[in-house]
């Protein structure tokens, strides 16, 4: 039981952070609804978080501490890491990785991201609105499905290239076709058909759009 509540903590932190950014009131019942758990669990989780020094109460409102922010960041990076495309060799290496302590180093050495790209990346995930779980890599979508770009994660060159081809945050894309053997994805964006390699497609994070919306 407590395991489940511990898992809830980073997600609650994330929601609090987003609401804080938007200067909105924090309502526990809404958090519970979004995470699909009971209010009781949320209360329990928040108590633990306060005890651990992740959140502090200021004037009846909740605010993330330095440590709380760190946890949120770690949570986001872990999620992204799980989602992006790994080559076969990387997948094997991943088994032996264990818990990653220094993400920045990890991205740099294992994923070949330079300082500039990393700075962009951290700006991006810090300012991300909403839960990270809402963002899915393009490769998780299937033929015919649509989504809106939330952010693009990758080197400066790749981000620029994609933006210039019309893939900017907020743009709707439709999956036209997936090539077999984990090949590229064909998408339709702004009326143009583009093929995007699987590695790059897995770094485009999008929010799925339901057909009837």
């Amino acid at each position: 039981m407590s395991e489940k509540i511990n898992e809830l903590i980073p997600e609650i932190l994330e929601i609090i952070k987003t609401l804080e950014n938007k200067n909105e009131e924090i309502k526990l019942n809404e958090i519970a609804k979004e995470l699909k758990v009971s209010i009781k669990d949320i209360e329990k989780a928040i108590d633990i978080a306060i005890k651990d020094g992740l959140i502090k109460k200021i004037n009846n409102s909740l605010k993330l501490t330095e440590k709380g922010l760190e946890i949120t960041q770690y949570h986001r990076e872990k999620y992204l890491h799980e989602k992006i495309h790994h080559s076969f060799l990387n997948s094997i290496a991943k088994i032996f990785e264990g818990k990653i302590k220094d993400w920045r180093k990890h991205w740099h050495y294992k994923h070949g991201m330079d300082d500039e790209s990393l700075n962009e990346f951290y700006k991006e995930i810090k300012s991300l609105e909403g839960r990270i779980e809402d963002a899915l890599p393009l490769t998780d979508l299937h033929q015919g499905e649509k989504g809106i770009i939330v952010f693009i994660f990758g080197g400066k060159g790749a981000v620029r290239r994609l933006a210039e081809m019309g893939l900017t945050p907020g743009t709707e894309i439709k999956i036209v076709k997936e090539a077999p053997f984990h090949g590229p994805v064909e998408i339709c964006v702004r009326g143009t058909f583009l093929a995007i390699g699987r590695g790059m497609a897995s770094k485009i994070f999008i929010k799925k759009v339901k057909e009837n919306e």
Binding site: R160, R161, L194, G197, G199
Partner: protein, 655 residues
């Protein structure tokens, strides 16, 4: 009026919008195709006369943006900004207005005189799109001329509009691109600082444009500004501006600017387009569906490749033999007669060296290169290349390349020369070089002759096949190493899937002709020079000291008979020469009398890996530069010797 009135026009626009078709309509066969200085990018120029003007036209590479992602973009931008053509014809695709206007907006920002050719009007109509041309022209503030380039419609009107603009009969009022308020404030601040601190650079570029490029983190502009004494101050300020903007938007400034431009493009496109009929699924779309189908796509790809092979190599072989027989049987005896008055040594150098070189060039160029160029042009113009790349992307990723590299690699099995030319379908210089580097390791048909004639005949087909397999592993390993070692950010596949189009015969002929001409200019001198020098070495007897010099390497390290040194040297001319020479020098066709099985394997491996032939070197020099060509040659010779020696030692342990 005696003075010739000259107009310089540059054609600019996205890829796949029919820019080349317009260029071909304007210039026809008068065009000259070469490469941009020091770049692997085709440069097409042409001249025409119209209403008393001499019009010089340059076809800029097809690009999506004026940033500095690819070599093409740098070339186009530098040309527009520095050379300042009198007028730019921006070719845009009527069926895909929004994405094309993104580029138009960037041209407008450069504030260069321009008019727009709204091309592929027929295709747009077919898709049920109607464009209010007058309105578009009014919004953009420049003339917009509808064209259907492949049919030649609208070309005359385009030219007369160019003249109208040049003669100032039409006044251009190009749209001023306005960004969001907080961006505009910062652009203005940056502009003031640049005007004040860097007046020199403002003479070359517009200060507003520099400001926007700085906000976009354009590496090229940043580098240029760094060169100035006051540059650092400007850059420090722009960093502050960027930080501020990124804080407001929560996004990289690169994305902020791109989003804004697309926003503008989207608004304009929406305002002027009307979709009359909902688009039906056309034959082209269905064809696209089938050729990228996850099951059907592969047999089709196989069939296409098989056809290319049959046409280029079987047909090429046939033609090549006819030509060779003609030269050897008829032409050489005649020349021999003509040169009878010369001392024998000279006539031999002329015949065996110069004439043989020309023959080698012709028997390679005509039968193989021309059919290949025709097929390449058809594949390019029809839109099949992106489909093949789509299917093969994942497999190519294993050697650090993406899908498009599949085509040159495959062609390499036939002949490395067209394969290296095919490498230009890759986007960046880095990828082009990487693709060429692995392509030359692919055993071409000449090397196949050696592998099959030695190892296949005397040891068995299984041994020959394992050599091919070994070569694939080698390519895989070297590809990976080169991928890691070459500087630059590897960019995955981002490729437009243009609709299928019926290639135009006129365009294909023009493309093939200008490319062949270019090839002949570059490759022939090298081939002829090389064969003359080698022939001279033989006749003067200097070849023997050279053979003695390399003997320790051949005998001690590779474990081969001393006599094999000469055929290995001559293999540079044409790889199949190695076997012919070996039999001539040893006086036997029974190679098992002179070589042990291990020696055959070593000999074949060395031949397979070391420098491609001189025609390939010529093409590498043409496509890249001499330094890179020599680099590849040295690496390949080194590898061939290293691996040959190692294989000799390893095999000697077992057999």
């Amino acid at each position: 009026m005696n003075k010739e009135r000259i107009i310089n026009i540059a054609l600019a626009g996205n890829a796949n919008v029919g820019k080349s078709a317009i260029f071909n309509q304007l210039t026809g066969l008068s065009q000259v195709v070469g490469n941009w200085p020091g770049k692997t990018v085709e440069k097409a120029e042409g001249t025409l006369f119209f209403q008393g003007y001499k019009i010089h036209i340059i076809d800029l590479p097809g690009i999506y943006s004026l940033s500095t992602f690819s070599i093409e973009e740098i070339i186009a931008r530098e040309y527009i900004a520095i050379e300042k053509p009198d007028i730019i014809i921006n070719v845009i695709d009527a069926s895909n207005l929004e994405r094309n206007l993104y580029f138009t907006i960037q041209l407008l920002e450069l504030q260069v005189p321009m008019i727009i050719a709204l091309n592929q009007m027929d295709f747009a109509t077919k898709k049920g799109i109607k464009i209010d041309i007058e309105k578009l022209s009014k919004i953009l503030g420049v003339p917009v001329i509808p064209t259907v380039a492949i049919k030649g419609e609208g070309i005359k009107e385009l030219l007369s509009k160019v003249i109208d603009v040049i003669e100032k009969k039409i006044e251009l009022k190009p749209l001023k691109i306005k960004y969001g308020k907080e961006i505009e404030v910062n652009i203005e601040k940056l502009e003031n600082i640049i005007n004040e601190k860097l007046p020199e650079i403002c003479r070359k570029y517009l200060s507003r444009w520099i400001s926007i490029k700085l906000i976009e983190k354009d590496d090229d502009i940043i580098k240029k500004i760094q060169e100035y004494e006051n540059g650092r101050e400007v850059l420090a300020y722009s960093e502050k501006v960027i930080e501020e903007l990124e804080k407001i938007h929560g996004e990289s400034s690169i994305i902020i600017i791109a989003s804004e431009r697309y926003g503008i493009a989207n608004r304009i496109a929406k305002e002027v387009t009307k979709i009359i009929t909902p688009p039906k699924v056309s034959i082209e779309e269905r064809l696209s569906e089938i050729t990228t189908h996850k099951i059907l796509g592969y047999p089709i790809l196989f069939f296409v490749i098989f056809s290319i092979f049959s046409i280029v190599f079987i047909g090429g072989n046939f033609l090549s033999e006819i030509l060779e027989n003609f030269f050897e049987g008829i032409l050489i005896p005649i020349i021999n007669e003509l040169l009878i008055f010369l001392p024998q040594i000279f006539s031999k150098i002329i015949i065996e060296g110069i004439i043989s070189g020309i023959i080698a060039g012709i028997t390679i160029a005509l039968p193989y290169i021309i059919p290949f160029y025709i097929i390449l042009a058809i594949l390019e113009d029809s839109g099949y290349i992106p489909r093949a790349a789509f299917l093969m992307d994942n497999i190519m990723h294993k050697i650090g390349l993406h899908g498009k590299a599949f085509i040159p690699l495959l062609l390499g099995y036939g002949c490395n020369v067209p394969a290296c030319i095919g490498c230009r379908i890759m986007e960046t210089e880095r990828e082009r070089f990487l693709a060429a580097f692995v392509t030359v390791l692919i055993p071409c048909s000449a090397r196949t002759v050696i592998i099959l004639g030695l190892v296949g005949k005397y040891i068995g087909l299984h041994a020959a096949l394992s050599l091919y397999f070994f070569d694939l592993i080698l390519i895989f390993i070297l590809g990976r190493i080169a991928f890691k070692a070459l500087p630059g950010e590897p960019i995955g596949l981002i490729m437009e899937m243009p609709p299928y189009k019926l290639p135009l015969i006129k365009n294909i002929i023009i493309k093939t002709w200008v490319r062949t001409k270019d090839f002949i200019y570059i490759a022939f001198p090298l081939i002829i020079g090389g064969s003359t020098i080698l022939e001279a070495l033989i006749l003067t007897g200097w070849i023997w000291p050279i053979n003695n010099f390399i003997a320790p390497l051949i005998v001690n390290w590779l474990g081969l008979p001393k006599i094999t040194g000469i055929p290995l040297i001559f293999g540079i001319l044409r790889k199949e020469l190695t076997l012919i020479l070996l039999s001539e020098l040893t006086g036997t066709l029974e190679f098992n009398n002179i070589l042990t099985p291990i020696q055959m394997i070593v000999f074949s491996i060395v031949t397979m890996i070391y420098v491609p032939c001189i025609a390939t070197i010529a093409v590498l020099k043409k496509e890249f530069n001499l330094k890179k060509a020599i680099g590849i040659v040295i690496i390949d010779i080194f590898l061939a010797l290293l691996i040959g020696g190692l294989i000799f030692r390893i095999l000697s342990l077992f057999f």
